[in-house]
Amino acid sequence: MSILEFIKQPWPWYVAGPLIGMTVPILLLIGNKAFGISSSLRHICAACMPAKIPFFQYDWKKEAWNLFFVAGIFLGGFIATSLLSNPSNIVLNPKLVTELSGYGITDYQAMVPVQLFNWSSLFTLRGLIMMVGGGFLVGFGTRYAGGCTSGHAIMGISTLQWPSLVATCCFMTGGFIMANYILPYILLLG
């Protein structure tokens, strides 16, 4: 097996997790920066539509590194898909496959299920709730909580901040409630 073939396989958690964790010391060492991605959304607001709101009145240019970082994440997604992608479908728990097929979700080729997230379903009730509503909850919730998975779950817990542990438990609780008790009804909307 060549190195490229090796890289193209899906990476196991024990390779990916430590690499993601290494982002914490790398950002600290190259520029004394605290890992956190949801702040980028705030900087975009401050740069594009501050609207005299005190929360967006600060020198966002000083935080521009964060915007370069998320631009890199976008490019990384593009590079991994165009050059390093794995042609076979994702391997999932058969219980999930059975459940999702009940909602007509049968295509497992992409990271994002094309049968749910596509331009033509954007203006269906299900599409609006999932793409527009879901995005709104992500942006509103992370800012209200003061951070997301990177800022709280990884950076916050790494520096032993108990408020971040509380936030992370709430992220998981919210996700558990939505995925098991609410999302099935949204998926049924077709």
Partner: protein, 137 residues
Amino acid sequence: MKNNIKYLLVGIAFGIVFVKAEVISWFRIQEMFRLQSFHMFGVIGSAIAVGILSVWLIKKFNIKTINGEAITFTPKTFNKGQIYGGLIFGFGWAITGACPGPLFAQIGTGATVISITLISAIAGTWVYGRFKDHLPH
């Protein structure tokens, strides 16, 4: 600008890991919240373990940045927003299958419609900023 190129490069590496480990997969997020796979718990857990160890080493050996600057940590204070906001973000995470970082990576994989989800997330951030003082904290 020049100074920020290094963050772009770290972001690229990070985005590649996201895709290759299927961390940005909507399906993997569903498996995690249905407790059907260890994968995402392993990724998040081992990332935190490496983070804790590296921060401990930085503090213990008083390691400086590459420019010789002292590394600083900002303590977080608790407020109820971490509970309410945390639950709301959790709802959004399970619907979209993405946190803020993965949204950018998902668009990069060619799921262009996720740019609408990203714009909506920016709008959510804006609405929080607008009504911040009226929300319980």
